[in-house]
């Protein structure tokens, strides 16, 4: 099915209304997308400038400078509490920074929140969805809020539900969905408006292998066509497979930033997982032990 129009994107003053997709062959589980993206390489798709968020005496995010280019599949890695979710919440406008700024393209999140939100899709770590909407209603609601024309929204909704194997459960309340189903419907909601920037926090957690493969292909294709994906995950093999660039955060700061290959080369290791562990000092953590745990359980 041909999709015309869509959100009116603009980066550096250039209209992105020509961002068009073709969704087809849904029955085979393959979505082919064509895109005519407007991004140039000068304006970053996602950026933060000296971003700080303090909770009490602790700096959850501490002077973070990020610059993610259009079309990048950017992996944001870090241990628990490193500041990844806090960073994403500040970029999307849900958490006010203590200082610094963040934005999408030419728009500052805190000066033009509406313009930023028109350009993003968010899959949060916690499912903050409307549990008392059905899956179909949730997708309609999201599309309407993004100003997607009704006819177009209905077509995309049906395609997404079919592709993610949620068609039979379209009339069930989201609150009655399993964890994996919620994740899938949340992802569908994040992409239904075809935003040029996607923020995905642990998108594959709890998703079955078949759907996960489908989503991976969809996202890869999405970035090939010019969209930007900011991806946070603890599954290193996925990060290695999908991301074109990786940023490693620790204690609110950006420790390292490079391509997966570059990271491995810099840390002198084989895999991104090893590079990550080396970067955050996890090798020292591995030496820790629990002597009382070493004997047979009582």
């Amino acid at each position: 099915m041909q999709n015309a129009g869509g959100p009116d994107f603009a980066f550096n003053g250039k209209s992105a209304s020509a961002l068009t997709f073709t969704w087809s062959a849904v029955d085979t589980g393959v979505v082919i997308i064509s895109i005519d993206h407007p991004f140039d390489d000068v304006t970053p798709a996602v950026w933060t400038r000296d971003l700080v968020r303090r909770f009490g005496k602790k700096n959850a995010v501490d002077g973070l400078d990020l610059s993610i280019r259009p079309g990048e599949f950017y992996g944001l890695l870090g241990q628990n509490g490193a500041g990844k979710t806090t960073t994403i919440r500040m970029i999307v406008g849900l958490l006010r920074p203590t200082s610094g700024s963040a934005g999408i393209g030419e728009f500052d999140t805190w000066k033009s929140p509406l313009e930023v939100k028109k350009r993003i899709g968010v899959l949060p770590e916690e499912f903050n969805l409307y549990e008392r909407l059905t899956g179909a209603e949730l997708l309609d609601f999201t599309a309407a809020m993004h100003n997607v024309p009704k006819k177009e929204a209905v077509a995309r909704r049906d395609d997404l539900l079919a592709m993610l194997d949620l068609e039979a459960d379209a009339g069930k309340l989201v609150g009655d969905y399993s964890r994996g189903m919620r994740k899938k419907v949340a992802l569908a909601a994040a992409i239904i408006a075809r935003p040029p920037v996607l923020f995905l926090d642990e998108p594959f957690e709890g998703v079955d292998a078949v759907s996960a493969r489908l989503i991976r292909r969809l996202l890869s294709r999405y970035t090939e066509l010019g969209a930007t994906v900011v991806f946070s995950s603890h599954e290193m093999h996925l990060v290695e497979k999908l991301c074109t660039r990786i940023g490693i955060m620790s204690h609110g700061k950006l420790l390292l930033e490079d391509t997966p290959e570059g990271l491995c080369r810099r840390m002198g290791v084989e895999t991104v997982e090893d590079a990550f562990i080396a970067a955050v000092g996890g090798e020292d953590e591995e030496k820790k032990s629990l002597p009382w745990f070493e004997s047979s359980p009582a």
């Binding site: 849900l94 969805l129 409307y130 909407l133 809020m145």
Partner: protein
């Protein structure tokens, strides 16, 4: 284990105060309010105990015990409680023997602010005859048993209500359960008040004996133990203590059974998918305000908590009917007035308060989903207002029709719509701003429906009280116009009153919409942070 659970409650309570600004500000206010309530109750109670003698005093105490017990048990379900229960689901995987679990939950229930009122009234009863050592030996355990019985009964009842709401059919029936509680409470209150007004406390107590049923009515048993001890009937007093203890154990066992079922039974899913629901929002208007309004209206029907709030309407309808049936003075005076339907907007206004003054709290965690979407804040507010207005208008017209039927007068019904519109606009004008400045954090839905109830934030309660009076102030002029139209010589034409009500409401609403749209634009992170349920 009991000590640990009581400690857990105390720790949750303390950490909540430390971490939550709403609680820090609101707790002293609520503590003062509860203390004032306790003082008022104790003063009146001691007056009665001092004035009454012999059988009249015993009957009074039996009735007082019953009323306090029923109020303590039922009120948390009818109104949002000021206390919170520990959610048993969070303890379900821990190796806690069930008797210790319920004992611990009871002990935890004693760590709260509202318990001040209960303990004060019970304590003052025991202290009333503190002179006799032997009487005190009986009275003290009887009083302790009564407090435990009330706390166990209260938590048992909320667990029972949670169990009712656990099933699909139960969620549908909840409306009628709440209506029943509301009706019974109001009817009972009216009955007692009318009887006491007509006969005085002593005669009313003597002519409606309850004390002789001490072995059958659980809360009366400990009261009987106290009065028997005061009268020197030691053996009867000891037996009454044993009976009270047995009733308490029975209540605890019943509660434990329901809890056991609740912890291992999954919540029943929503109604099966239908073709209509599969189409989502794809029929009807597609603009943001309309989509938000339709989402809200669906939530009113699907969210048990919102449904309970809207059930308030039914309760108010029930109250009106009950008042007329019971024939209390307040309502009976209006029964033959042809303007009775015009009372409907005022009653519905009360029902609309929890929604209108807290439009974002109901979003809970979904607020962070909603506000990541690119909708203009003003459009979101208008959508929410549209839903509230639709609901309130339907309720007003329903209640107005009912009151017109009771008063057999339909004369002023045409005026009802414009007056209701103006009233609702004033309500929303204040509600929009309050909803943004002090959004109320609502509890997450745990196993126990009433767990974590104080998460609602006490500061918001204060702002809502102030809002209530502000709305009242805004309504002075339209109310005056209405009164001068329907009574006092009908000096103002209904056309003028109707037009004025709509114009007045529209003016304040438009003004508020401009301010609240601007405020929400600036305060999205704060609103999200306040309503987020952790």
């Amino acid at each position: 284990m009991v000590r640990e659970l009581a400690g857990l409650k105390a720790r949750l309570f303390w950490n909540g105060i430390r971490a939550d600004r709403q609680r820090r500000i609101g707790l002293p206010l609520i503590a003062a309010l509860v203390t004032w309530l306790a003082w008022t109750l104790v003063t009146a109670h001691i007056d009665q105990l001092t004035t009454l003698e012999g059988t009249a005093r015993n009957e009074y105490l039996a009735w007082a015990a019953l009323v306090i017990f029923v109020a303590w048990v039922a009120l948390p379900v009818v109104i949002f409680p000021l206390d919170e229960n520990i959610d048993p689901q969070q303890l379900a995987t821990l190796p806690i023997p069930r008797p210790r679990l319920v004992a611990g939950l009871i002990a935890a229930g004693l760590v709260s602010v509202p318990i001040i009122a209960l303990v004060a009234v019970v304590g003052s009863t025991v202290a009333h005859r503190a002179g006799s050592n032997l009487a005190s030996v009986i009275s003290l355990p009887a009083a302790a048993i009564f407090v435990v019985m009330a706390v166990a009964g209260s938590q048992g009842f909320t667990t029972l209500m949670s169990a009712v709401l656990h099933s699909r059919r139960g969620r549908d029936l909840a409306v009628f359960v709440i209506m029943g509680i509301g009706l019974a409470s109001f009817g009972g209150y009216q009955l007692v008040r009318t009887t006491v007004d007509q006969m005085g406390v002593a005669t009313a107590a003597l002519s409606h004996p309850l004390d002789y049923l001490w072995w059958l009515v659980p809360p009366v048993a400990p009261a009987h133990a106290v009065t028997a001890a005061w009268d020197g009937r030691w053996l009867e007093a000891v037996v009454a203590v044993v009976v009270a203890l047995a009733w308490t154990l029975l209540i605890v066992v019943g509660w434990e059974r329901v809890l056991r079922w609740l912890l291992v039974t999954p919540r029943q899913e929503s109604a099966p998918a239908t073709a209509r629901r599969k189409v989502g929002f794809s029929r009807g208007r597609w603009e943001v305000p309309f989509i938000v309004a339709r989402k809200e209206l669906r939530f009113y029907l699907r969210d048990p908590r919102q449904r309970l709030v809207w059930t308030g309407t039914v309760i108010f309808v029930g109250l009106a009917i009950a008042a007329i049936v019971v024939g209390s003075d307040g309502f009976a005076r209006f029964r033959d007035r042809d303007w009775l339907p015009m009372v409907a907007p005022v009653l519905v206004l009360m029902v609309g308060l929890p929604i209108a003054l807290n439009q974002f709290g109901w979003e809970r965690n979904a607020a962070s989903y909603l506000f990541a979407l690119p909708a203009r804040p003003r459009a979101v507010i208008v959508g929410k207002n549209l839903a509230a207005m639709t609901g309130l208008l339907v309720e007003t017209l329903f209640l107005g029709t009912l009151l017109a039927w009771f008063s057999s007068s339909w004369r002023w019904m045409p005026l009802l719509l414009p007056v209701a519109l103006g009233t609702i606009c004033c309500l929303l004008a204040v509600g929009n701003i309050v909803s943004i400045l002090t959004p109320l954090r609502l509890p997450r839905e745990g196993t126990d429906m009433f767990a974590q109830a104080t998460e609602q934030g006490l500061l918001a309660l204060l702002s809502q009280v102030i809002s209530f009076f502000t709305i009242g102030l805004l309504l002075v002029l339209p109310a005056s116009f209405t009164v001068l139209t329907v009574d006092f010589g009908h000096v103002i034409s209904p056309w003028v009153t109707g037009a004025f009500a709509i114009g007045w409401g529209a003016f304040w609403y438009a003004l508020s919409l401009g301010v609240s749209g601007w405020l929400l634009h600036r305060r999205v992170p704060e609103v999200v942070g306040w309503v987020q349920v952790y």
